[in-house]
């Protein structure tokens, strides 16, 4: 049983009440370890969905969970909630194997969105909040707060089926958040949202992480992930191929991307040891080079080609990291 310390979001579990042998409870101080998937494997007949997948998601941080279609992201997320039971491996929260007690502290927005279409928004959220363990008064307060926060207060007494697609998405998000979960797992949360919806959801995710929740979400919109996430895990064929902090992963890459712009539309395509030209258009050249290449040396070379208006020497963007990780 978890005893939460008081925070803005009502979470940040750092103290646990563990029943001891005599049945009494004792306070045990632990480090907030968050979510751990440890060596998960899962086969569906001949198909290997997960092949020793491991990852960690820390409280207070946002983890981007990436991979090509069919890589095993949804299966891994379902394992977190016991919807799929892995053949081997373990799912832990705060060091304990997850079970019904933990599942009710988690929030989940599945890829396949689903709500009761004929049920009113407020009733639906109230029902889900109570199923997650809130009592009547807590549920009512929380539902009102999230309806207000997500701009749904005026539609609270409408049936879900009567709402627009965007508003249904918001209700779906509210359903995942209504019990103030300690871990939030969102499967493709940005899919189908308009730019304003994307912005609002990104703000909510950041706010939740700031309040102490661990947030895991999958997405194919890598620019968005780069803006929102602090940590990233890339999987392919059910295996982890990249994991860590986004900045550290970018910095640790052995590649750098160079972009050079020239004033007079010069076409510059140099031969560089430890690098290659990705694009050489009039006035603009893009290179991929080894991280050991000296940028000063590149600037000197570029100046021989023409007058520079811009020079950048950057670690790979998330999309580049993703491609490197998946393509090898």
């Amino acid at each position: 049983m978890t005893n939460t310390t008081g925070t803005a979001g009502g979470r940040r579990a750092t103290v646990h009440r563990e029943p001891n042998v005599a049945g009494a409870t004792a306070l045990v101080r632990t480090d907030a370890r968050g979510l751990e998937l440890d060596g998960l494997t899962k086969r569906f007949g001949q198909i290997v969905a997960l092949d020793g997948l491991s990852l960690e998601a820390r409280p207070g941080r946002v983890l981007g969970f990436l991979g090509p279609n069919g890589a095993g992201k949804t299966t891994a997320m379902r394992c977190v909630f016991g919807l799929v039971v892995p053949d081997t491996g373990a799912v832990r929260w705060e060091g304990r194997t997850v079970g019904p007690q933990e599942w009710r502290q988690f929030g989940y927005m599945p890829e396949e969105r689903g709500l009761y279409p004929q049920m009113r928004v407020r009733e639906q959220l109230d029902y889900l909040a109570r199923l997650s363990g809130l009592d009547g008064r807590q549920a009512a307060t929380s539902v009102a707060r999230w309806l207000e926060r997500l701009g749904l207060a005026e539609r609270a007494d409408d049936q879900v089926a009567a709402l627009s697609h965007g508003n249904q998405q918001r209700v779906q998000l509210a359903a995942a958040l209504v019990h103030d979960p300690e871990l939030l797992v969102l499967d493709e949360p940005f899919a189908g949202l308009d730019p304003l919806g994307v912005e609002a959801l990104a703000a909510v995710i950041a706010e939740l992480a700031q309040a102490g929740a661990a947030v895991v979400f999958s997405s194919h919109q890598l620019d968005l992930v780069q803006d929102v996430c602090e940590d990233v895990v890339v999987i392919e064929h059910g295996r982890t191929v990249l994991a860590g902090s986004l900045e550290a992963s970018r910095a640790a890459s052995r590649r750098r991307y160079v972009e050079v712009a020239f004033r007079d539309g010069v076409t510059w395509a140099p031969q560089i040891t430890g690098g290659r030209v990705l694009a050489a258009d009039p006035g603009r050249t893009r290179l991929e080079v080894d991280a050991s290449v000296d940028p000063e040396h590149l600037v000197t070379l570029a100046r021989r080609g023409g007058e520079l208006t811009r020079f950048s020497f950057e670690p790979p963007a998330l999309s580049d990291l993703f491609r490197e990780a998946v393509e090898g």
Partner: protein
Amino acid sequence: MNARRAIGLVAWREITQRVRGRVFIFSTLALLLAVLAAILIPSLRADENKTLKVGLVGNTPAQLVPALAQVSNATGSEMQSRRYASLPVAERALRDDELGVLVVDGKQLVWKSRVDDEVRALAVATLQRVDMQTRAAALGLTSAQANALLTPAPISERQLDPPDPDRDARYAAALLGLFTLMWALMLYGGAVTTGVTQEKTSRVIEVLLSRVSARDLLTGKVLGIGAVGLFQLLLGLPVAVATAALVDRVELPNAVPSTIGWVILWFVLGYAFFSVAFAATAARASRTEETQSEQTVIALIPTFCALFALFYATESPDAWPAQIASFIPISAPFVLPVRAAVSDVAIWEVALAAAIMLVSTYTVIRVAARMYTGAVLRTDAPPFLKDVVGASRASR
């Protein structure tokens, strides 16, 4: 949150959502109308039959009309007689339904079409008695002598093994339970199936199962829908009693109260078992159409069992097929109450059959829960049992 609270929340949602729906309002009204019709229509017909309309034509003995009136009164009917001048006029009145029967010359009965056996027996006996009295008078006997001669000697009877006086009432209660169970399964078993399928097709199931176990979800659903059904039944009961009292047809509680208790027990056990079986079918199917086709096949099972109980177990309650059927969960709720009504069923048989029902219901809930969780993974084609159970060895 414990399982009981989760089950309670799921059941409460089912109750509140269904009671508010149009289907509930219409089906409740239909049930109440059916109850009223079932009591009022026979009562109206009974009233019609209470008046015996007799036409007389030709040479009718003077004693006939008072004799017919006396017999009619003795059987609780009122008699109206009318004399006609000619046979054609009398027959026209018979054709126009102004008469029930026509007596010609005190010796012939004329019917329009269908012969009313009860009226026929009364009329024939009365006509013969009046005829004998006429012949006795012709022989010079006084009325007292004729009566002394014609009154039949009382024949005493005794039974070596007298039947249970409550047998009919118990049998009626058992049949009522059987038909109520069939009706409830048709209506609410279908509601369970539809509810489960809708949760799958609307994909809300994944949101629910991330919060509550499939077993608790299914149990709550069956209980909630069952409670709505029982509420409708209970709503019908006072209406039935009040209406019956209004039309003087209260003959109900001859049945031993314990029989009614057993009937209710088997109704609840049977409803629970078949509801979870329907839920398991729905958990396996992917779309509403598949559910409907599978449900049609599955609905044949209780229908067959009800027919077996009605036509076999009633006649041969102690034969081995009926005894075995009492311990099989799919047939026990139909066969056992009927057997108990018409024969002697040992208490251990009832206890064992009830225990088997409970264990079977629990097992089916567990299997259905596994199928439900496993079937989340697929909505394209109905999975085979081994697929869904294998795909999710859910311990939830």
